[in-house]
Amino acid sequence: MTVSLFLQLVVQGCAIGAIYGLAALGFVLLVKALDVINFAQGEFVVLGGFIVWTLVGAGLPFWLALPGALLIGALVGVVFERVVYRPIRDRDFATHLIGTLAGALILRNLAQHIWGPETHAFTAPFDRWVFDWHSVVINPQYLLILGATVLLVAGYYVFFFHSPTGKVLRAVADSRSTARLLGVHTNRIGALAFALASSTGVLAGVLVAPLFLVDPNVGFTAALKAFVATIIGGWGSFPGALLGGLIVGLAEVFSVQFFPSGYKDATAFVILIVFLLLRPQGLFPGRAGERA
């Protein structure tokens, strides 16, 4: 293996890994804030692609369409919390699982109803431009994704551990009834958490659209890999989600060089099984002691 191929594989693996990590952040956020697993997170990613595609198609420049999409995403999150999550929030894990899964199906069908089943091309902001760096091909979209993910991880980390609102969010995750007794508006906090999670998903959708197209079926794949990244990283850890994503991304890219490519999708799950056997708490055990 030449040095340039090795570097190219590292670049490619990190880029894909960052995408998985970015999609996983929404998962982690809700685990951390509300102690709930949201299986509709992948559908927020789908929404992101379609919303930004619609806004740019309507003539908005990309850098205006992006905040617009995030805002619409946040609104969808607030509605989702009110309609899907709040009625079942005091139930057990299985109810959360089925409830958010039902929410995912509703979102998916709603998206199909609005935008139809077709896949669309979306190339903003870089219009499929790539550049060479020492014979390694770099797609600026990769840098954008990696940059956004690292910033978000840092931002969420600071927010959750060093801001008053973040501390309230964690307190609600710990015990909603105690938090409420102490005067926390738990409804408002829940809405905030879902708004953040869904706009994080929307951001992921906007950023991967130039690579993965605007496709109504991208949600399931995104959610599956993001879920694996979340578990590997340690349930409820922001840096863990990014690191877990990077591990899966790099493993996928490198595995194809050595094994038949038909098994590429299995790579993520082999890693998942290895982790569950050897280190079930993940790289950064999150919830257990809030160490992150």
Partner: protein, 382 residues
């Protein structure tokens, strides 16, 4: 005296009855329309394709009616929507059969035709379909009543493979294909045809249909340094693979599955589609030769993309009209026998010649995306 009113009533009744009978049987029998059925997707996921089929058949019916019909009888096209569901297609088909059509133009997707097959064998009315699955015209499925008006998948793939082996003659080809039935059967035909000409793939890579990141496979292919890459994928996957291949610096000629010949692929791949070679059943709707016909379809359906999907339905309707013009009293059974013997009908799509199993269309054009248009390759013949 007492009989008079009765008699008058009887005469009135007789007069009324006979005039009613005359009204029912007389003039109506002479002008009864010839019914042609159409089961297609007017709503749902396949509506874009289904509406093209309807537009093609409707144009053929409108044209023949404007020209005075067939032997003085008008043609009535009976359209039933299958809502893009195989189950609903069966109901739509049964509804059409109850109105006594001479033939039915059916769905263009293989699973739909397979769902209809038992009803078609029972009804004993010829069914036309552009579905490309090999099974569609198999005797145990069709019972001899299904007529394919598009080139089968196997025929089109063989044609493209032959072009690669005998005209492009790559020294070091590679292939990337979906790891499902579709990808594997396409790759199988390619592999066998190239092998017959002493050419072997230097690398074979696979992907999961719907996967969005092909960079791992494409990087591996790039390292092999092939002089040509064959890609067997549905249009949406092809639209992901081709831009990624070009971005990563895989700049060799690309040869793609029939999915590459779709406007959908061009829309997704954009300028990176340029130079990709593929195979298409017919250039109807795109070529100069079909410009007049395309104009007519567009006149009635302004925003509709026009392709061989519309022209095959148009041709099927005209095939029926052509036979009925010579045999006005043909029953569905008689029509079947005449169809099975039909040779040399020149449609908008191309020439039709039915073989013993009901495959009527065999044209496959090797084409290359050039400046956003599909241009036929010289030396590929038909």
């Amino acid at each position: 005296m007492s009989a008079y009113p009765v008699r008058r009533r009887a005469i009135l009744a007789a007069a009324l009855g006979s005039s009613l009978l005359a009204a029912l049987a007389g003039p109506a029998a002479a002008e009864e329309a010839i019914r042609l059925g159409l089961v297609t997707s007017m709503t749902g996921g396949f509506a874009a394709t289904g509406r093209q089929v309807a537009a093609g058949a409707q144009l053929a019916a409108d044209e023949i009616n404007a020209a005075g019909g067939i032997g003085g009888r008008q043609v009535k096209l009976i359209v039933e929507d299958d809502r893009s569901e195989p189950g609903a297609a069966v109901n739509a088909y049964n509804k059409i059969i109850s109105s006594g059509p001479v033939a039915v133009i059916g769905p263009t997707f293989t699973p739909f035709v397979l769902a209809l097959a038992p009803a078609v064998r029972r009804a004993e009315v010829p069914l036309f379909t552009a579905a490309i699955g090999t099974k569609v015209t198999a005797a145990e499925v069709s019972g001899g009543w299904v007529f394919r008006i598009s080139t089968s998948d196997a025929e089109a793939t063989a044609k493209l493979a032959d072009y690669v082996a005998t005209v492009l003659k790559p020294q070091r080809p590679a292939i990337l294909f979906a790891n499902n039935d579709y990808g594997k059967s396409g790759a199988g035909v390619m592999r066998a045809t190239l092998a017959a000409h002493g050419i072997a793939f230097a690398a074979e890579e696979q992907f999961t249909q719907g996967d969005k990141d092909m960079s791992a496979q494409l990087l591996k292919l790039r390292e092999i340094k092939p002089d040509l890459v064959v890609i067997w994928a549905i249009p949406t996957d092809a639209g992901v693979i081709v831009p990624q291949a070009r971005q990563i610096g895989l700049s060799v000629p690309l040869v793609g599955s029939p999915g590459f010949a779709t406007p959908e692929f061009l829309g997704l791949a954009g300028s990176s589609a340029e130079g990709a070679t593929t195979v298409i059943v017919s250039l109807a709707g795109q070529s100069e030769a079909t410009a007049d016909w395309t104009q007519k379809i567009r006149a009635a359906n302004p925003d509709m993309p026009v392709s061989f999907t519309a022209s095959t339905a148009y041709d099927a309707a005209n095939l029926v009209f052509d036979i009925l013009a010579r045999q006005p009293d043909a029953t569905p059974a008689k029509l079947r026998d005449l169809l099975a013997a039909a040779h040399g009908f020149q449609g908008i799509s191309g020439p039709y010649d039915f073989d013993a199993t009901g495959n009527g269309f065999h044209q496959a054009l090797v084409v290359t995306w050039t400046g956003g248009k599909l241009v036929p390759e010289a030396g590929a013949g038909q």
